[in-house]
Symmetry: C2
């Protein structure tokens, strides 16, 4: 007789894992109603003056492949929460609740538990309820050993607290918040660089990732597996210190792909690259991979993970450790092909 397990899906294992998980997941917020096990997670709608929900979804891309190579699964569990928190912050909201989606060809209890435990811990640390999730076992769809972790986050803000590019004016100041590394973007390019480096050095990718690199003050693997930083505390401090008009989370697409999302039509950004030191990791990847300058800045954050348009840049820089004044908003020249102009 044929069973579901013969088809590569172990429903009993999945049920057992979810059961053990429910003991570790903390609801985390008083608005949560009931526990896991329902067909949807329940959360009391925010009340107040014209509340707006902000919803966002994202995965961590092929950073999962590096996590796998170096047995550091926790990192991507933290990342998937932090990146969504930052997207909510960029819209002007604070996080309310989160749901995760974990998919792989064959369910590994060890990997699943490590990733989802990190998701739960990051939710708790960011004041966000872990309201539900889904675990998919998809034989034949994923490459052997590969997995995907995706997050969905809902936040909220009063309508008048939402950030809006329409409020941005010519001459407004830009302030940047430092990143911890690549965060969760451009990992396919980084992996290509590592694989070529490994080939040149005549060793495996894992060995190339584990070798000490003087320029990095450590290994390439450690530098690449820094967690995507949550800007929750920084953004709170920033908004307490000065009016913030708009904000850009520098993710996939780098500077040109994201900074214009915080600007009104017809406006551009002038950014002084000398305002901060591009971290060694980016310089290392650029050299090892022979990557053109524009490609670098169109793919990675280059050391700045979040850019805010603020009224009082001096107050902003005082309020947030590591924050730097980057430049200012300017009117776009006629026919300008790009909206971010580096100076």
């Amino acid at each position: 007789m044929t069973t579901y397990k013969d088809a590569g899906v172990d429903a009993a294992l999945k049920a057992e894992l979810l059961k053990s998980l429910s003991g570790r997941v903390q609801a985390g917020r008083p608005e949560v109603i009931g526990g896991l096990g329902g067909f949807g997670g329940l959360f009391r709608a925010p009340t107040g003056k014209e509340m707006v929900l902000v919803a966002t979804t994202d995965g961590v891309g092929t950073k999962t492949e590096l996590a796998r190579m170096l047995d550091r699964y926790e990192v991507v569990g933290t990342d998937v929460v932090h990146q969504s928190v930052n997207d909510a912050l960029a819209a002007g909201a604070e996080p309310l609740f989160f749901l995760d989606y974990f998919a792989s060809g064959v369910l590994s209890p060890d990997i699943f538990t490590r990733v989802v435990d990190a998701v739960a811990a990051a939710c708790a640390a960011n004041g966000c309820a872990l309201l539900g999730g889904e675990t998919a076992e998809m034989p034949g769809v994923f490459a052997p050993g590969a997995f995907d972790i995706v997050g969905f986050l809902v936040g909220a803000a009063e309508r008048e607290a939402l950030l809006d590019p329409a409020a941005v004016r010519d001459g407004d100041a830009l302030v940047g918040l430092p990143s911890t590394g690549l965060h969760t973007n451009g990992y396919s390019l980084a992996r290509l660089v590592v694989s070529r480096l490994a080939e040149n050095e005549g060793r495996s990718m894992v060995d190339a990732l584990r070798a000490p690199r003087p320029l990095l003050g450590g290994t390439l693997g450690d530098a690449l597996l820094q967690t995507h930083r949550s800007y929750l505390a920084d953004v709170r401090a920033l908004r307490a210190a000065t009016e913030v008009k708009a904000m850009a989370h520098l993710t996939g697409g780098g500077w040109e792909g994201n900074l214009p999302r915080a600007l009104p039509a017809g406006m551009g950004a002038q950014v002084d690259r000398g305002a901060w030191t591009v971290p060694p990791l980016f310089r290392f990847l650029a050299e090892a991979g022979r990557i053109a300058d524009e490609e670098l800045w169109d793919t990675w954050n280059m050391g700045i993970g979040m850019v805010a348009v603020v009224s009082d840049p001096a107050a902003a820089v005082r309020a947030v450790p590591g924050a730097v004044r980057l430049g200012s908003v300017e009117r776009l020249r006629a026919g300008a092909a790009r909206r971010v102009r580096f100076a």
Copy 2:
């Protein structure tokens, strides 16, 4: 020089696809604020007496593999919306907004467009705003040609309209709503059956799926690629006709895995299998795959996609075409290993 595209990620293609998509996506509801392009989708929070948000996430599993084999990508786009709508309904809520996550190794404009267009159409048909989404290109993570489509839905209900298993009593009636087929569950098992059938018949899986099957009144491929039915209209009619105390959406885990989620502790369900005719597809798969009876009912819905615990089953059956009275809630016998008892 190395580019991101060398690494298998075509950021420009993705940006172009998203741009063409934004023209086709209808916001769909008056609560939506602004357009695509922000860091989060914005939606006015529901106001009213004690509103509760209901959040759910799910993928369509390896039904994507069959869609691929038969070039019927639209089906899984519709499915991913309908299954989430049904989860919200089972909690007692109606859908507000939806976000999709589409992932593949190499982004295919054709497949992406067909899936996401179907997502947009299904959202519109179910009165749900398509508020955002993410498109991930993950070289090396997916098997060649494979993809994943995941949905995230938020619905809402007044707190007193939420369904609650705690309200269910011994003797309450169970009413079932017909399914269109496997919906989105147990496709790995179905594919295993099809591959063995193809082997026995000495032909390819695609040919086995396309051959006419007298028992099915059509092809196996058509029967397997019916869309997951949305119960929105049926559940509205049901709740208008009778008090509904709780509801179970029969998804992964079949009857035993889902029906108890609509029951309080200590209660079970007595279900008369003679109340409806198990559709030919399930009988065909059971025979072709030599699948044991318990495994069938623990994996698939067997023709009933939603079960409601109602006060007035006669009114329920009159109100919804195809609805059948299944049996009733009963106190669990001491030591019972299962909570669904078929009679």
